[in-house]
């Protein structure tokens, strides 16, 4: 495990991504404590204040400090998005690999079910799940995981089909190995590259999906400073106070870039063939 981290740091993308993500993790951990102002302090005289000395990123429609809200909001935004993505992609990867391993009728049954689920758009699916389970951040996380799993299962299955035909799987079957060993130890490690890349790309989507759910009143509720919610709230004031939208938008983009860079680095670091 340590040599994976070491190799990760030696790739420029991996090192860069890791730096960005460590920074974001630090903000998640201590953000509310280093916020210069109380993120929920309303100041009617300072509405839509231009970025300056008092408010580095400006103030919003209620005069709240955008920087403080950003720092405080990281804690609700990033961990939820990451958790939802991990849950969705990992379960999708396992379903895809199992389907490829079983093959035949089982494969057919699993994949047709996946197709049926995929026919429902991701957002609609998430709405359906939240409506069934009830409002709340945990349920929103689950909803996004459910929305992500089918796509991931399809991607993983196509890669796993190639791994399934390899002789090391035949060797394991000839040895009398059980299905769990073959799926988790022989096949999954060899399909990890596309899974990692998909996962890192989907983190950004998850942030956006959370924002959408919050916007519809099903995720985080005002006055929470969830980044997605901040973007949604800033929308009507785009022409009046663009900084309200730019700051959380840039934060989301930075997170996405961080995860994508980490994904590129991980893909190389996890491959033992890569000797760099």
């Amino acid at each position: 495990m340590t040599d994976v981290v070491f190799r990760l740091l030696r790739t420029p993308q991996g090192a860069m991504g890791l730096v960005i993500l460590v920074l974001i993790a630090a903000i998640c951990a201590i953000g509310p404590d280093i916020a210069p102002v109380d993120p929920e302090k309303i100041d009617f005289l300072g509405r839509f204040r231009v970025p300056g000395a008092a408010h580095p990123f400006g103030a919003d429609q209620l005069g709240r400090d955008v920087l403080s809200r950003l720092l405080a909001g990281a804690r609700t935004t990033v961990p939820m998005a990451v958790a939802a993505t991990l849950l969705g992609t990992l379960s999708g990867a396992v379903i895809g690999t199992v389907s490829a391993y079983l093959g035949g009728r089982w494969d057919e049954a699993i994949m047709r079910t996946i197709d049926a689920v995929m026919a429902i758009p991701g957002l609609l699916m998430a709405l359906l799940v939240v409506n069934t389970l009830g409002k709340g951040s945990l349920n929103a996380t689950l909803a996004i995981a459910v929305a992500f799993a089918p796509g991931m299962a399809r991607v993983t299955r196509s890669v796993s089909l190639a791994a399934r035909r390899q002789d090391y799987v035949s060797a394991a079957i000839a040895r009398g190995e059980g299905g769990a060993w073959i799926v988790f130890r022989e096949m999954l490690p060899n399909v990890v590259a596309p899974v990692v890349i998909e996962t890192t790309i989907r983190v950004a989507f998850a942030v956006a999906l959370f924002a959408t759910l919050s916007f519809l009143g099903l995720g985080a509720q005002p006055p929470a400073s969830d980044w997605g919610l901040m973007v949604a709230e800033a929308r009507p004031f785009l022409h009046q106070a663009p900084w309200m939208l730019v700051a959380p938008g840039a934060a989301i983009a930075l997170t996405a870039i961080g995860f994508n860079l980490l994904g590129d680095g991980l893909r190389d670091a996890l491959n033992p063939r890569d000797e760099r």
């Binding site: 002789d167 035949s170 060797a171 000839a174 040895r175 009398g176 490690p189």
Partner: protein, 524 residues
């Protein structure tokens, strides 16, 4: 007389992260008009790099340090991209190792042949198509007009290679480079391709550079042979002389390693009880469907038995059902009939219990595919110990048994050479303390000298453990050295099952005789 190809003091390096790697070192070769030069070397010797250097298609990290490559007196190295386009395919043809990957699967054979003719001989589309049919007829392909409309997956490997050869010869080049053209084909098909090559050469008088790892084969097709080792030509001589009287130590070792049927490596006979037997074994591929054809029979009605310590060689051309037999015995394919193990008749892979799985082990052809690239050698070897019982402390002994140092346990498969990987696969099979090891073409991807060492290792393990082998191969010379009995398969059926001494007798099946005739035996 100006040589057709003149390589003079050519040195090539590849820049890698670990520094510059010299692949060709002061290589000088000449090919006279109408002459065929054989270039023999093991994998990594730089022989393919030389072919690509002549074709002027080197990877981006290649650095040419010195030397010249001249085609009929013209310097190829100083030519621009435009001039090279007129040389490649037109003046220098190339035939690749694997016909399955050197044809575009999405284009019909006719389009691929006609395109080359239209491009290099300036023909119209219709004329090129007609010329393509003629070219295919010339390489003894049946019904060439229909063949032109087929796609690569609709014809056999031998037919594909004939199409490629036809294309290469159709442009009437001055030089043709053959990069192991028969390695991917089975013995009989390969022998026929060589025959075709000989005939076309006599007709056209083309010069050739024939690259191969097989010294015995090269000495039959080439007039002169150059032996290359780590980028250096160590010996260059007349084909007949190089086999009879090699001067360089390395050439001598290569000649030594070529399997000769008359030199037996196993002296003791098989003894003891039957380990495994097949009774009317059959394997069908694909399910019978409502619409569509019948299932393809991979093997049918096979009866054979193996005694303790016996080596049974299974030979036949590709598609004859050799590997199907291995898949049935190792429980990878559903079968009809029965596999008899320890007096019990097993009717399906489900009845193969742990004792059976332990006793019957399989080693696959390609260690790259059979060793999981994400597992370390230690983890790979620990798995059978954990499954069938055994102490982890045995690990160093397992590695030492296949003559690998114990610290290899920490390495990944890709950090090992091909021969070392195959040793790891063998060690994994022997970790189970098996009664029978199925060897499915395990020496095919290895160099001749490595192959000899692996065979010697197998024999030593047999002496020590009394293991029986089901040795599947297409190399009849090798199997005649080691096997007690030989099973000959053809189209899924066992046509011959006889003792190795009886091979020369009159009683053998005509197909077996054809196989013996086709297997390359060294001249001299």
């Amino acid at each position: 007389m100006i040589p057709i190809l003149d390589i003079d003091g050519y040195t090539l390096e590849y820049r890698t992260r670990a520094g510059a790697v010299r692949v060709l070192d002061e290589v000088s070769l000449q090919i006279a008009p109408g002459q065929v030069l054989g270039l023999v070397g093991e994998s990594g010797s730089g022989k393919s790099s030389l072919a690509w250097a002549v074709m002027r298609h080197l990877p981006g990290n290649a650095q040419e340090l010195s030397g010249a490559i001249r085609l009929d007196g013209e310097d190829l190295r100083s030519m621009g991209a435009r001039q090279l386009e007129a040389v490649r395919g037109r003046r220098i043809g190339m035939v690749f190792q694997d016909p399955a990957t050197s044809l575009n699967p999405t284009l019909s054979l006719g389009r691929q042949v006609a395109e080359v003719l239209a491009r290099h001989r300036g023909m119209s589309a219709a004329a090129a198509w007609q010329a393509g049919i003629e070219a295919l007829r010339h390489v003894d392909l049946r019904d060439p007009a229909a063949l032109m409309r087929r796609y690569p997956h609709e014809v056999s490997g031998g037919e594909k290679q004939r199409v490629i050869i036809a294309t290469a010869f159709a442009c009437r080049p001055e030089l043709i480079i053959f990069d192991e053209p028969t390695t991917a084909l089975d013995v009989i098909t390969g022998a026929r391709i060589l025959e075709l090559f000989r005939r076309l050469r006599e007709e056209t008088g083309v010069a050739g550079l024939y690259i191969s790892h097989d010294l015995a084969l090269v000495s039959r097709v080439a007039e002169r042979v150059a032996v290359i080792r780590r980028g250096q030509v160590v010996e260059q001589a007349d084909a007949r002389r190089i086999f009879r009287a090699p001067t360089h130590d390395y050439t001598r070792a290569l000649v030594q390693a070529v399997p000769r049927p008359e030199r037996r490596l196993v002296t003791d006979g098989p003894g003891g009880p039957t380990v495994l037997a097949a009774r009317g074994l059959g394997v069908a591929y694909g399910r019978a469907r409502l619409f569509g054809g019948k299932p393809v029979m991979g093997a049918r009605g096979v009866d054979l038995e193996l005694r303790r310590g016996e080596i049974l060689g299974v030979v036949g051309e590709s598609g004859s059902g050799k590997s199907t037999l291995a898949r049935a015995f190792s429980g990878l394919a559903r079968f009809t009939g029965a596999v008899v193990f320890e007096g019990r008749a097993l009717a399906s892979p489900r009845q193969m219990d742990r004792a059976y799985r332990r006793a019957v082990q399989i080693v696959f052809q390609h260690p790259d595919a059979s060793l999981n690239p994400r597992h370390r050698v230690g983890a790979l070897l620990a798995r059978p110990l954990r499954l069938y019982g055994g102490a982890m402390a045995e690990l160093p002994r397992l590695l030492e048994q296949v003559r690998l140092p114990p610290d290899y346990a920490r390495r990944y498969p890709h950090q090992l050479s091909g021969g070392e990987k195959q040793r790891v696969a063998i060690a994994r099979a022997f970790a189970a303390k098996p009664a029978l090891v199925i060897c499915d073409e395990i020496t095919a991807p290895l160099d001749v000298s490595v192959q000899a060492a692996v065979v010697e290792l197998l024999l030593e393990l047999r002496r020590r453990h009394g293991t029986a082998y089901l040795f599947i191969t297409h190399d009849l010379s090798l199997v005649r050295q080691i096997a007690h009995r030989i099973a000959v398969m053809r189209r899924g059926e066992l046509v011959d099952l006889l003792s190795v001494d009886a091979l020369g007798s009159e009683a053998v099946h005509p197909y077996t005789r054809e196989l013996i005739a086709a297997s390359p035996t060294p001249v001299g």
